[in-house]
Symmetry: C2
Subunit: 240 residues, 2 copies
DNA sequence: GAGTGGTCTAGACCACGCA
DNA sequence: GCGTGGTCTAGACCACTCT
């Protein structure tokens, strides 16, 4: 007599999930050294090869950092790495932009319909809204509106001035790891607010980037709308 | 006495390159079955594990297709796979667009400055230019100008009507495998030509996508400029 | 049942970083 | 020189596909 067959799950995927769980739960903090592969193999009762295969996946997901001769570390979202990983704006000549911010304001207010829809929350949910301008060579190139639920990031306004890459703050202060973003791009015309922030005239073309940040556990924790002056910059990406 | 030390190259990377070379040279055609891992291991004088690791990389690069129980095949760019892999336009509600073409024209003429610059060729190099309109639900949403060197794709005009995904044609008829694209996005205003092709009014916002296609050997073989009506579609992508 | 890719193990050795 | 991750091997067994 046979019972219901469980779907087949390789051992290394279970190891992988166990490791993610232990990292998310804070057993090892960002930047910390993990036990060696041999030690984990002994501890978890599998061979080193199986630990390796699990860690290969974690490395691909950028959850850990492996350094030959030194060890394996929980990935840390440093400013440089984080900024370049998710910030895709380039100068017209193709060089990368290191964004700097101007005119930052943070306020607590009910979440708007568009952000709420994208984050799967109810309109009016208490949220922090961060408005800032992105500068390149002291020229404003983009105007950003970032909205996060207050419940997920309490007292966000206390951390002002905010870092250029908010994801580093999310990780450091809230233990929340953003691992991917969904982006939607459209063209639009410059409205009155854009014109004021970007020093453009109404009716000029604008690139609008709508972004949702997703954590390692699949939660959508941040919504951002960027409106970019693409006469000063462009969005660049390689598809594979 | 020591001679110059060669930089260290793991065995599996050499196997990987050898396999790519044999595929590019046509020893196995797209869709064909490769020898089994065991057979290749014997043939190349390494262990099966090393063949596996090389093939893991080829699979990530989408150069081969592995199917448990059946074997390993040279990847074939089918219409469905190829279209979805590099075509990032979505409907306003987020559903994928299956592009269909209208008004296709192909002509042989000197390459323009912008395409030549992007492809690293001299302006005026003989080239085929493909103009077509992309339709969604019989509505024109994008106007595409695709330029390829005649030398790389001789008598391209004989293959009309062209498939929706040109990359499948490049692979099937010319043995050229596109494995990645570099894309640059900007916002612009609708000009007279756009207006004619897309049924818009001049001054409406447009999303411009400039794309360069790169082969497995790193050659830039195609330049494309798409001008999209983002009131009917948008560009969507997930960053990781 | 035969053959393929996929998993898992155990052990050896290599390249790297650091003290 | 030691400990770490990275490579390579050899062999066993599992899951899947087709005959």
């Amino acid at each position: 007599m046979e019972t219901d067959r469980q779907p087949y799950r390789p051992l290394y995927t279970q190891i992988q999930e166990a490791l993610v769980r232990r990292i998310v739960e804070g057993e090892w903090r960002p930047g910390e050294l993990l036990p060696s592969e041999q030690a984990l193999a002994l501890q978890m009762g599998v061979s080193q090869g199986t630990i390796r295969k699990a860690m290969d996946a974690l490395e691909t997901e950028k959850i850990i950092d492996r350094r030959q001769g030194k060890g394996t570390f929980v990935a840390e979202l440093t400013q440089e790495k984080s900024v370049y990983r998710f910030f895709r704006l380039l100068r017209p000549d193709g060089r990368r932009i290191v964004p700097t911010s101007g005119n930052e304001t943070v306020r607590l207010q009910p979440m708007g319909a568009r952000a709420a829809l994208a984050l799967g929350l109810a309109e009016g949910t208490p949220a922090f809204e961060v408005l800032r301008t992105r500068l390149v060579d002291d020229q404003p190139v983009a105007f950003e509106r970032t909205i996060v639920p207050e419940k997920v990031f309490p007292v966000l306004d206390r951390h002002s001035p905010l870092p250029n890459a908010l994801f580093t703050l999310y990780q450091r202060e809230y233990g929340i790891n953003v691992v991917s973003t969904d982006e939607r791009l459209r063209a639009d015309l410059c409205d009155e607010q854009d014109a004021a922030y970007l020093g453009l005239t109404q009716g000029a073309p604008l690139l609008e980037i709508e972004r949702v940040a997703v954590t390692v556990t699949g939660e959508r924790v941040e919504w951002r709308l960027s409106r970019c002056n693409t006469s000063l910059c462009m969005y660049g990406i390689t598809l594979t």
